[in-house]
């Protein structure tokens, strides 16, 4: 049948020279259906994405599945990237949601409708918290109790909504909100 079976990974590799395009250029190329651009994005971003997702989920197969889904989603909706932040952050947004998707089974229609009623967004304060110099935030985070720290990580650093954070941590979204408020208070006190 196949005289010389070339692995999929080897396809296009004869190009040889490294791809000098920026991440944003690669995403634009993906919009134009450049398969090589997707391959380059994969080469650049899969390593850190796999590691970061592995911290959220100990099951390696689920992480691999989420990574796969992420890049297939990048191929399909590259036109959704707005140049408001780095490409890596956009990829992370897709990646963490893909992970949630493979980790939890689909909720019932009723649950999903109820969640639609009150969507949560990151507030400006939360964004500011992230922008503060790392060392202080790290220390401030360290002083929080474990449950508070996890909530801050999930909502602020992972960019999840309260519903999504609740699903990831296995607690109701109301609890997420109250813990978040307490954490913000404590961190503000630690930082000033």
């Amino acid at each position: 049948m196949n005289q010389h079976h070339r692995s999929v990974a080897q396809l296009g590799m004869s190009r040889g020279r490294p791809d000098g395009r920026s991440d944003a250029e690669l995403v634009a190329a993906v919009v134009d259906r450049d398969r090589g651009a997707l391959q380059e994005l994969y080469a650049r971003h899969e390593p850190w994405l796999s590691i970061r997702l592995a911290y959220r989920c100990s099951d390696r197969t689920l992480v691999e599945e989420a990574v796969q889904d992420t890049f297939v989603a990048v191929w399909g909706s590259a036109d959704g990237y707005r140049a408001t932040g780095p490409v890596a952050a956009w990829i992370w947004g897709i990646g963490i949601r893909r992970l949630l998707h493979v980790m939890r089974p689909r909720r019932s229609l009723r649950e999903r409708l109820m969640a639609q009623r009150s969507p949560e967004l990151l507030s400006a304060e939360d964004e500011l918290l992230v922008g503060v110099e790392h060392g202080d935030v790290g220390l401030a985070l360290g002083r929080l109790s474990p449950e508070l720290r996890m909530v801050v990580q999930a909502t602020v650093l992972d960019g999840l909504s309260c519903q999504e954070a609740g699903r990831l941590l296995g607690i109701p979204s109301g609890t997420v909100k109250t813990r978040m408020m307490r954490a913000k208070r404590e961190m503000r006190e630690a930082l000033t």
Binding site: M1, N2, Q3, H5, R6, V8, L11, G12, S14, R15, D32, R33, D34, R35, G36, A37, Q39
Partner: protein, 286 residues
Amino acid sequence: MNADAVIELRSLSKRYGSTPAVDDLDWSGGRGVIGLLGPNGAGKSTLLRMLATVLGQDSGSIRVFGLDPAVADERLAIRRRLGYLPQEAGLYRNFTAYDLVDYVAVLKEITDRPVRRDEVRRVLDDVGLTDEMHRRIRTLSGGMQRRVALAASLLGHPDLLVLDEPAAGLDPDQRLRMRTVLSEVGQRATVLLSTHQTDEVAAFCQRVLVLDRGRLLFDGTPRDLAHRATDRVWVSDAPDAGALRSWVTGDGNIRNIGAPPSGATLVEPTLDDGYLLVATEDGVRS
């Protein structure tokens, strides 16, 4: 006639109106890369179409793999081992390259989907279109569109590859790549390609046929074709009236072919010289 030749032509003729496109052609041949040289209107496309089983002859016989294209069942059997690249492919421009090659793969009876997918990817990689495979054909350059058609002709590892001016519109880098692919195919199959550029033939054809006005003027290796002009090529400062052909070369001198006068500065013949000599002599004779 060679008993196990891949292609056998006997007294093959085809005319359009009163003009002969192929005129009483006798030839047989097999493995390797065979170049078909000749000016426009020489009958190259007509011959290739007949070999690709898409055109019937007026008289004479064709055998491909020992099978007769005029018989329906044998024609089908030939097509299962054939790859054809026409001069104008006429591809549907709204399909992506992948769509089109996949479609041709279905036409070539590659029914199993994973096998077909691997095969489509393989041929698109062979012609260097891996990164462009999901772009619509109308967004591709002319050379890339040609390569899509070339990829489609390579599907299924054909035993006979019939290519009508495959390198038309390709830049030198792409031509080199194409030659590499075709040379590889030529190692276990027969590749018959037409061109009107001698440098292409010189580069990688093991055998060359010169065609003009439907007749075979030469059949041999490229080296033999060049040697036809041994001691028949000389340079001078001014055009020589006795030469068959004279032209100005890049460095300002005149190059002549024909019967050299005594004392002329003879030069080593190139493939171009051999081809011109063969074509012009025949023109003079007829």
